[in-house]
């Protein structure tokens, strides 16, 4: 249930970056979430729809890329995703393992529209 402050942090960052790029509107937002980061996509989206109103990022689509928890065995070198019950290497059984990825929680891209261009409107 900590997604509200997290979503607020995301919104602040997006609005700041959009302003720096002189964007009129943000249409799409790309986010990487590692498995260890414990954030729920749907919950971020839920709060997003509420708090982004009235900002340049109102209604933007959030795209989440999930990064699974990846562990590497330091004995045999095998990288694997744990089954949730143990972190031991499924190949050699070693318990000497290290976390390689899964802690990410970052903004990796924005699609923006620059200030509206004058255009012909057909009537």
């Amino acid at each position: 249930m900590h997604e509200l402050p997290v979503t607020q942090a995301l919104l602040d960052l997006v609005v700041e970056r959009a302003a720096a790029a002189q964007a009129a509107r943000v249409t799409d937002i790309y986010i990487e979430i590692g498995q260890l980061a414990s954030y729920v996509d749907e919950s971020v989206q839920f709060y997003w729809d509420i708090i982004s109103g009235g900002t340049a990022a109102e209604g933007a689509n959030l795209h989440f890329q999930r990064i699974p928890l990846s562990i590497q065995c330091t004995a045999c070198g095998r990288s694997f995703q744990p089954d949730g019950r143990t972190f031991d290497c499924p190949d050699c059984g070693s318990e000497r393992v290290r976390v390689r990825s899964g802690e990410e929680f970052q903004l990796v891209g924005l699609d923006v529209e620059r200030a509206a261009q004058p255009r012909t409107v057909e009537v």
């Binding site: 414990s38 970052q106 699609d111």
Partner: protein, 216 residues
């Protein structure tokens, strides 16, 4: 046509910057701060009571207590002999750097040696919100079960020390210590670990000694 801006920025960067600011404020005042995190009922407040009672003769200790509601924990810390500040998070499941900053404003840091921050009882959210403490410490407890590192890896991965409380219950609870420690070792190799019992006092001397080393 929309155009793509590539950014790679941590989303929680704002909290992290504030945490760094808290750390500077603590360092300038010569205060060592620890952030205690645990599930509800693991023994955060009990460990604080023991710690305050053991060290209050030699050090001035302040406690910032984070709770969803109530001032019970701060009252216990104050009774033990600490200056205690209660922060009610108003439903928020963790402390963040802003709340700690507000807590710091209520404490005369020049008169404090050790600041203990008691986070909200929760094994998920506090891991995502650094506060600026010098050491992040997790308290596990025997009745919680040995599978917690596997279920809450984010919490176990990010801490500087682990206290395993309620070791006096080992004979009565099925707790596979080897399985627990394998999980911890995978996530946080070489993690400093203190098996203790706040009930019997077992192991608390090692914990105290470590804190005194941080303070010296």
């Amino acid at each position: 046509m929309p155009e793509r801006i590539a950014v790679v920025e941590k989303i929680m960067g704002a909290n992290e910057r504030l945490a760094a600011q808290n750390r500077r404020q603590l360092d300038e005042a010569g205060v060592i701060a620890i952030n205690l995190m645990a599930s509800p009922g693991a023994g955060k407040t009990s460990l604080i009571e023991h710690t305050v009672k053991a060290l209050r003769g030699a050090y001035d200790i302040a406690v910032i207590d984070g709770d969803v509601a109530s001032g019970i924990d701060a009252a216990r810390a104050a009774e033990a002999g600490a200056r205690a500040v209660q922060i009610n998070t108003g439903g928020e499941c963790h402390l963040d750097a802003v709340m700690v900053q507000e807590g710091l404003e209520q404490i005369d840091l020049e008169r404090v040696d050790l600041l203990i921050i008691e986070n909200v009882g929760n094994l998920i959210c506090p891991a995502a919100f650094p506060l600026g403490a010098h050491k992040n410490i997790l308290i596990a407890s025997i009745p919680e079960g040995a599978d917690k590192p596997y279920k809450y890896p984010g919490m176990y991965k990010g801490v500087d020390a682990l206290v395993i409380n309620k070791v006096d219950l080992m004979p009565y609870v099925d707790f596979d210590m080897a399985y627990f420690q394998r999980g911890v070792e995978a996530l946080n190799p070489g993690l400093l670990t203190f098996p203790v019992s706040c009930k019997t006092g077992e192991g608390l001397l090692a914990w105290q000694t470590w804190l005194e080393t941080l303070l010296s």
